[in-house]
């Protein structure tokens, strides 16, 4: 369905088929030890340059991409700056075309605006990887989260994952919704009606189902994993906020084997109690970070080959 040239981009997990998703995850699994520094780096991409075009500041993601590029043997350069294309006075496309003209092999793009990577991909001939665009998608975060679950469970079919918080404004949630449902998992979107509109229930086309639930207590016993999103304090009234916090008491009601996830950085005591986030029997939060490097290596490898 997607032409070969377009295959080198990763603009989102929306529209990425099961086979392709699995091959990226398999690749990331193989690259895991190298990503973690337990095996020597590769020289698959010697002399090739990956440019991190970060129009918004998200240092952990940028560092993760830099580590991933270096472990593949590629060089990485950063162009950072904040603000939208309008306030910059030049178009993001101009910036991307300028950097591409220097001969870089791939552009890793993060932006406060939805769709920036897609617009750049339509204009340049090198590969473009979305490192997070506004409220749209954050596909490498989603892949890392999914890899984490796959390492625990193998097959995701029939598993139930709750994503809790401000779903409407979350790019992490959108990527997870697409990726998880494509692999056959069911997703419950949990949060107050103001932040989890019912229209979100229909955005995915995968075999897994998406349901919208406005009560956290209702889902605790039903899920195989629960992913808490970072809360934006201003978005929810304090009393509503606590209704969607994963407290110690709520965590006790989870199934014994249920996993606790968070894309980071954690607001301890806001969306999740620190005892829960730090509970090594359930929490896979650090695993998500480590897997982030592995999936970014897999994505870059695919784009550079």
């Amino acid at each position: 369905m997607v032409p070969a040239a377009q295959n080198r981009h990763l603009l989102g997990l929306d529209g990425v088929g099961r086979q392709e998703l699995e091959s990226l995850l398999d690749q990331a699994q193989v690259l895991g030890p190298i990503a973690a520094g337990r095996a020597p780096p590769l020289d698959l991409a010697t002399g090739r340059i990956v440019a991190n075009l970060f129009f918004e500041d998200s240092t952990p993601v940028r560092v993760s991409f830099t580590v991933a590029a270096r472990r593949l043997g590629a060089d990485s350069v950063d162009q950072t700056g904040s603000g939208s294309s309008l306030s910059k006075g030049e178009t993001l496309l101009d910036t991307a075309l300028t950097v591409e003209a220097m001969g870089v092999a791939a552009l890793v793009v993060a932006s406060p605006c939805e769709g920036t990577p897609a617009r750049i991909a339509a204009a340049v001939s090198c590969a473009v990887i979305n490192a997070g665009d506004g409220r749209h998608e954050h596909p490498t975060q989603g892949l890392g989260d999914i890899l984490t679950l796959r390492q625990r469970w193998g097959d995701l079919s029939g598993r139930v994952i709750a994503i809790v918080g401000d779903i409407a404004d979350s790019r992490v949630a959108r990527s997870n919704i697409h990726g998880l449902t494509t692999l056959g998992a069911d997703v419950m979107l949990v949060g107050p009606p103001s932040l989890v509109p019912v229209s979100l229930g229909s955005i995915a086309s995968g075999p897994g189902r998406v349901t919208v639930v406005h009560d956290l207590d209702e889902v605790l016993e039903k899920v195989d994993a629960i992913m808490m999103l970072r809360a934006k304090m201003e978005a929810i009234a304090e009393e509503d906020h606590s209704a969607f916090r994963l407290t110690v008491a709520r965590a006790r009601r989870l199934r014994p084997e249920a996993l606790v996830m968070h894309p980071g950085p954690v607001n301890s005591g806001v969306e999740i109690d620190s005892e829960v986030a730090d509970d090594s029997r359930r929490s896979v939060i650090l695993r998500q970070v480590a897997n982030g490097v592995a999936v970014r290596m897999a994505v870059l490898k695919r784009s550079l080959s």
Binding site: E114, G115, A118, R119, R135, L200, S202, I203
Partner: protein, 451 residues
């Protein structure tokens, strides 16, 4: 209806003495219901004869065999962007674009820089348009000062200067008390009020239709309800006032039933629809293509269905392009930063045909009524003979080849705007001649003329 000394009269005077014979076309005049194969003889800027004409030896002829011969088309919703220091369009390029699309008359919106909110600004545009001498240009004046929605604009004096209607287009007159003052004043001036229906508290930051695509793309939604609420409220406010009230660029299918009900009660309510709202859906925004970014936003297939029903049953009586040129660098931005708007003058006609005639919604006679006599009546320019074909009336004529196949290529537009999501679309039907006040101001196929 327009006051003496307004631009239209001046435009009529610059026409030279000419004779033109349009031969053998199917002459369609929706105002009178005339529909016959006939010749049209134009002399001294007026229509001299419709019927069989044995041509004098020395006369300019346009061979219209296989073509439709219609009153000069009217588009009552365009943005000519003059005055504007950025000049993303000028009256010259916009009025030339109108001729290219078959439009002999356009009404330009007041969201210029500065806005057209004074009698002198109305006179300025009329004077510029007369000098350009392309399509006729009538001015829609701002309803509030600076289009800021806080204070009445000098509506009466602008009307005297020739403004044919009033609107804050691009912005909704949202304040109910101010709106009722606008409606009273516009009614007293004998004009029409055109509302950009968008509740700013509901859709102020909206980028795309609220629903599936907004959820998927993570963009703020602009729900149809923001349009419906304003229409509903305005009709209620206007009930005791009785101003001619016109809804611009209708986008939501639900709005159709609100307007249908008001019209059946005899309220003076009309509405228009654009080519893009009849043909394109929110799916066009899938890849964040800013060419599909328009206000109000593209909606769903269901909305299109209901809009077409509204056209079929006569609820929607006017077609308008909302021609909105923007420079490339205002469109080559992130979706959220890019300008709203689509250029339409040069491709509107075949798109209307594709949506409505090819789709069996209405026939050519009804389509042309929506492009001629209906808009002429709304803004009162039927009183000077525009929008119809009558012997002794002004010779504004559009000749349309309904079977001409062509591909929309914005690079060939006379408009300075290239922002068109229909680029590359293959269409059938095109204006081949646009005659304004007896002057052939656009002729597409030179081989059709014999001296």
């Amino acid at each position: 209806m327009p006051a003496p000394g307004c631009g239209c009269e001046r435009q009529a005077k610059i026409v030279g003495v000419t004779e033109v014979l349009i031969q053998g076309g199917r002459v369609l005049d929706p105002a009178s219901g005339f529909d016959q194969t006939a010749d049209v003889l134009i002399r001294d800027s007026v229509i001299a004869r419709i019927g069989r004409v044995s041509p004098p030896a020395e006369i300019r002829r346009i061979d219209a065999e296989g073509c439709l011969v219609a009153p000069g088309l009217i588009d009552l919703h365009v943005h000519l962007r003059e005055p504007d220091p950025q000049s993303t369009e000028t009256i010259a390029t916009g009025a030339a674009a109108a001729l290219g699309g078959g439009f002999a008359t356009v009404c330009c919106m007041p969201n210029t820089q500065p806005p057209i909110d004074s009698a002198s600004a109305v006179e300025y545009v009329n004077r510029r348009a007369a000098l350009v001498g392309a399509a006729r240009v009538f001015v829609v004046g701002a309803a509030t000062l600076g289009r800021r929605g806080q204070q009445l604009a000098p509506i009466a004096s602008m009307a005297r200067a020739g403004a044919v209607a009033f609107s804050d287009d691009g912005a909704c007159v949202a304040d109910a008390r101010l709106l009722s003052m606008v409606l009273r004043t516009v009614r007293a001036a004998g004009r029409c009020f055109m509302q950009h229906c968008q509740d700013p508290s509901l859709a102020g930051c909206g980028q795309v239709n609220a629903g599936h695509m907004a959820a998927r793309l993570g963009l703020p939604g602009w729900p149809g309800e923001a349009e419906e609420i304003i229409i509903d409220r305005d009709i209620r406010l206007n009930r005791a006032i009785g101003c001619r009230y016109h809804v611009q660029h209708l986008s939501s299918g639900e709005s159709v039933s609100i307007i249908r009900r008001a019209r059946s009660e005899g309220q003076p309510v009309t509405t228009e629809v654009t080519p893009h709202h009849l043909l394109l859906t929110e799916d066009c925004c899938r890849n964040y293509d800013p060419q599909a970014k328009v206000n109000p936003p593209l909606r769903t297939a269901r909305d299109i269905e209901l809009l077409k029903e509204g056209v079929a049953d006569g609820t929607i009586t006017i077609l308008a392009s909302d021609h909105a040129p923007h420079p490339l660098d205002r469109k080559q931005l992130d979706f959220a930063d890019a300008a709203f708007g689509i250029v339409g003058l040069e491709c509107a006609l075949p798109l209307y045909k594709a949506a409505l005639v090819d789709g069996g919604v209405i026939d050519w006679q009804a389509l042309l009524a929506m492009l001629t006599i209906n808009p002429a009546r709304l803004v009162g320019i039927d009183s000077i003979g525009l929008g119809s074909l009558a012997v002794g009336g002004p010779a504004d004529v559009t000749v349309i080849d309904p079977n001409l196949d062509w591909t929309i290529d914005p690079r060939e537009f006379s408009s300075m705007g290239r922002n068109c999501p229909f680029a590359g679309r293959e269409v059938r039907g095109r204006a081949i001649a646009t005659i304004v006040g007896g002057e052939v101001r656009m002729l597409r196929e030179s081989e059709r003329v014999t001296a």
